[in-house]
Amino acid sequence: MTELPVNAVAPRRPGRMVAGAAAGLVLIWLAYTITVNENLHWDVVVEYLFDGRVLGGLGVTIALTLLSMVLGVALGVLAAVMQLSDSPVLRGAAGLYTWFFRGTPLLVQLIFWFNIGLVFPVIGVGIPFGGPMFVEWQANTLVTPFVAAALGLTINEGAYMAEIVRAGIRSVDPGQREAAEALGMSHRQILRRVVLPQAMRVIIPPTGNQFVSMLKTTSMVSVIAGAELLTVAQRIYLGNFEVIALLIVASMWYLVLTSVASVGQHFLEKRFARGERS
């Protein structure tokens, strides 16, 4: 049989060439301005990039993100399971929670938690409805900016995670649950062994996005002086007036964090795609 190799000539695409040239020019101009503009103070950026205070703020940002995400996911799973329960009281409580915390701005919530002492000056463990207290603390000493930040971010994150987890659980074919029931598995076993592992495929990608988003959202904590990256940068530029340089320092670290998180997200997604036809 004779071979008939395909060696075709590609059509010219003038539109694409013009657009490409334009985008290239913009990039070159951008690189040029950034390097020659003396107002950017790159030497200051380099000086502060690994400054002890900046690295400390970076640590707080990472700690806040990890803590709020882990607790937020746990809270979200709990709220999602409650929303899918047969009990109207549990459903109602979980619904009220997500409605309230998704419906009010995080900034407002953070300021509220920081000022919780105005509502409950004393916080303690005891018998509710006016009974005696066993242990108690002054709200102002207990609720530090870090505690208020972790509390606010966690509770807000839990409300969003509840919706993500719920969507994940509902994406699992009801037949899966029936097949597991027919084997004699209990509700808890079905959730843990059959439903959640499959829901993960739907839950992981948006959770990764939430994590990346949380890394940046922690900067909101600067309104209550949370000692995280942006707060630290602000404190430094209030002293030396290097506003832009320190914003660049903070941004560079945020970019590092989000890039690392995105890579991690990629591998997690691959791990939970098990059993899918590739």
Binding site: A179, E181, A182, G184, M185, H187, V194, R274, G275, E276
Partner: protein
Amino acid sequence: MVRIQSVRKRYGSLEVLKGVSLDVPEGGVVCVVGPSGSGKSTLLRCVNRLETIDSGRIWVDGRLIGFREHGDRLHLLRPDELCEQRQKIGMVFQRFHLFPHMTALQNVMEGPRTVLRASRAAAARQAGELLERVGLADRAHHYPAQLSGGQQQRVAIARSLAMNPKVMLFDEPTSALDPELVQEVLAVMRDLAASGMTMIVVTHEMGFAREAGDHLVFIDDGVIVEEGPPREVLSRPRHERTRAFLGQVL
């Protein structure tokens, strides 16, 4: 082995089972046929209580399904008691419902491991034997998505058998299969019937009903219209509705 007495079931205003009674002796193979929407799948799902019944009684292996009799009142069983009853009732679904995140072997091991708390080694050995029995020993480490429909259904049968059920329920086990894959599943079911398993099979496979079934039940509009030995009912249906239905499917 299975005793169904005057079972009624309604969804809202629609009554799908209007007083159905059926006895399946130990080792008996009962095939249930009927037009879609006749209530035959619902009847099957009532036996392992995937559906609740509105009136009537169902016993499997002498135990009342779903309730406890206490004096002259019935009490609903607790969830853990229901789980225990279901362990002895295997079910095979039209659309297999294998767990997609587990291999064939892991699917078969899941019941013994999670419900019966069997050791990994014991569960794996038993699962291997069962996969061999349904002719899939070489597919043990494949995920469901890598198996054909017929293979998936055979794994699903092995998964049910792993719980050592007293009775097996088949809900249209070959209806979702390509025609050339039907026979491999029916062959496994024939072997199972020959081994003495008590089976209730909702099916459109009249050939299987004729050869492997001891008893044929024709359900239409929520009632048993006609029943008897399969060959007799299939060749000489007495009732007009049975004749009309068989005329369409044969």
